[in-house]
Symmetry: C2
Subunit: 456 residues, 2 copies
Amino acid sequence: MDRRNFIKSTAAASTVALVSPDSLFDFSSKIDKVKVGIVGCGMRGQVHLDELLKRNDVEVVGIAEPDQRMIDRSNKIFAKHNKKPVEYFKGLDGYKKLYKNKEMHAVIIATPWEFHAEQTIAAMNAGKIVGLEVCGAMNLQECWDYVDTYEKTKVPVFMMENVCYRRDVMAVMNMVRKGMFGQIVHGQGGYQHDLRNVLFNDGKQPYGGGVEFGDKGFSEAAWRTNHYVKRNAELYPTHGLGPIGTMMDVNRGNRITHLTSMASQQAGLTDYIVKNGGVDHPNAKVKFKQGDIVQTMLKCENGETILLTHDTSLQRPYNLGFRIQGTDGIWQDIGSGGFSQGFIYFEDEMKHSHKWASSEDHLKTYDHPYWKKYETQAEGAGHGGMDFFLMNDFIECIKANKEFPFDVYDLATWYAVTPLSEKSIEGNGTSQEMPDFTRGKYKTRKPVFGTEDYGF
Amino acid sequence: MDRRNFIKSTAAASTVALVSPDSLFDFSSKIDKVKVGIVGCGMRGQVHLDELLKRNDVEVVGIAEPDQRMIDRSNKIFAKHNKKPVEYFKGLDGYKKLYKNKEMHAVIIATPWEFHAEQTIAAMNAGKIVGLEVCGAMNLQECWDYVDTYEKTKVPVFMMENVCYRRDVMAVMNMVRKGMFGQIVHGQGGYQHDLRNVLFNDGKQPYGGGVEFGDKGFSEAAWRTNHYVKRNAELYPTHGLGPIGTMMDVNRGNRITHLTSMASQQAGLTDYIVKNGGVDHPNAKVKFKQGDIVQTMLKCENGETILLTHDTSLQRPYNLGFRIQGTDGIWQDIGSGGFSQGFIYFEDEMKHSHKWASSEDHLKTYDHPYWKKYETQAEGAGHGGMDFFLMNDFIECIKANKEFPFDVYDLATWYAVTPLSEKSIEGNGTSQEMPDFTRGKYKTRKPVFGTEDYGF
């Protein structure tokens, strides 16, 4: 039976469970060790590499990475784990060579945003399960391409949105699922994170030390900043939308119907360049198209509204600014993710005091079982432990043949916010319809992430 | 010289200063005692009455109020000040009789929203200076009517936006004017105040005790709630927009160019009725059109964005949610207005800590001179003292023949948010152009409120 036929027959048997991506492997037998490749082993890919090398149920089988400096850094991570480095595939098309590895089950893609679509679609076509890093799409067609390729190949994609796993976010979602907030009405989130020293550096160190970008920048400054030159959009929607969309069952009984976006002027990046590189630095004259603050309002079919804020070009303390609000409760995130870094109010319990309480006691009490179970293993993992859970879900879903908590439909919807917001801003705030990437399946799809039987 | 000619000649002499509203008075001579009438002496008007009766430079000369219960309450305020009640004009057209008082210089209008336009325009046409309470317009034409009537009569209107005088807001504005936030990029504010016990009561007490409204409700429940039945809009834009618009010099070197709005479903009011009146109460079946959360994004010509949130139908602690953000600083209001009820961050001063500081120290240091000067007098005044400043400006501007800090152009612009947001929501978030009510004068108009020589 060739791959196509194998996938067809398996797909017919089960449309929900993961479907074997490659006829070379018999997924009906248990996979004890998932063979993973990495596409893009920059600063973010190295975090994933570190997580993967910690695990006994994973073998890293190859890495596509064009930058020798990143390869050197990756080698140090192998050394830290007393493991021998794997083969590196260089060049921008290194991923194509990596995908030829017949033993490889899955790839993690953590490359510049503009490569996500071609690399993910090629992976699906090569039968490799994909874990795809966050960002937004370059255009709306790309989102349909993810969906269509998935529906053609049945090779699953995991949308690697790590903030969904933030401990306070999962505790709040736990409370939402228990109905403690009553009927959910509104949510907020965003990416309010001063990235100026990510967007500019000295071409040697990944963070700061100069005001260079593009050809003269290193790491994210080499490519991410160019998006700020050429685009004006909600460039990074998933950290806000993932957690809030999950709590609102988007694509699982609910869907986003439309959105509008608005962007402020650009002032922050130029100010940073002038302050740190001088008014005569050539970059002081660069016209950055991206507004410092981009806000996007999204409407859901079930009536809820969502506000996203992209705020990465100005000085500010880190605060994703989550809020979830229902008829019985409200949570407002004011910090960087600890249990005490938020306010909460439930009028019944708090005897109509009309006063915020620290979120600490509630979030401790309703700490998600998944976090309680793996607290120790998560210690030391990236982003306060959430990167452990992200990787754990990716690997455990593959091993258990279970569907990913965030799948290709979530990927398409979340990524689509970027091109839709871009168009809305271009049109002075015109309303943009969000396509139903599930083609009606959202009506019967059930929430996976954070449900009671979730967790491994 | 008849009134029209008097006004014309005065207007020619000075287009900035207050112009005499009535030829019966010679405003070039000093007014020591301002003769004021009140239109609408409900719960809000009574706060103004109390402030007016405290002052030696004011004489309350008449009140238009149709509800005997409110008249009884007002009489108690006169008694508290050992003053004899004035004549009351009953009936919905009582204001017309009041305006016939030839000695009266000015009126304060604190009536149901739907009466603001006709009562204000009639006052201007009668030569009475107007202090008009906050809300939003019923339609866009009304906003033009305010402006056109002002330009015809030259009778000034004071937009009575009290939150502009909140002590923390004025301190922050003081810092904005000193350039401490750098170039201003973004602001937020709104009306996030649980009004459920204002919107519903037992028909006897003004707050709560039942789930009645309209004909069976008392005070605001008798009329305000009907707006929630019939409309879906940013119903109450000025508490957020006044302070932020002032900091951004809207109508004074800057202007709002367009906006979009989005509304969530309605759930909060029905939930409240069911919980407090039972599922069988007739009001449990009322279809409230107003969404629980209405957010509006506004764009300024100089590039800044403003977010307004109307959130009055759900349980929540009071928090207008102010934020002002520039290249050098950010302030985030998290409470109900005290100096310590906010966060602040200035990276230079805070050595790039990326951590919020309490706003307390900064707001103490930059406490606005106006507040420092009148702190003692403001004690005990409504809304934490800000209602003293509101009234003080109204009376002192009239006495000193100085222009009001918020005038008819601010009134028109701020009020216009309501009908524009209504239209935007109706059109699934279509972008709405904000008219330039100043007809180009915003280019040369200078900020008044909060400037260095401000205050009496």
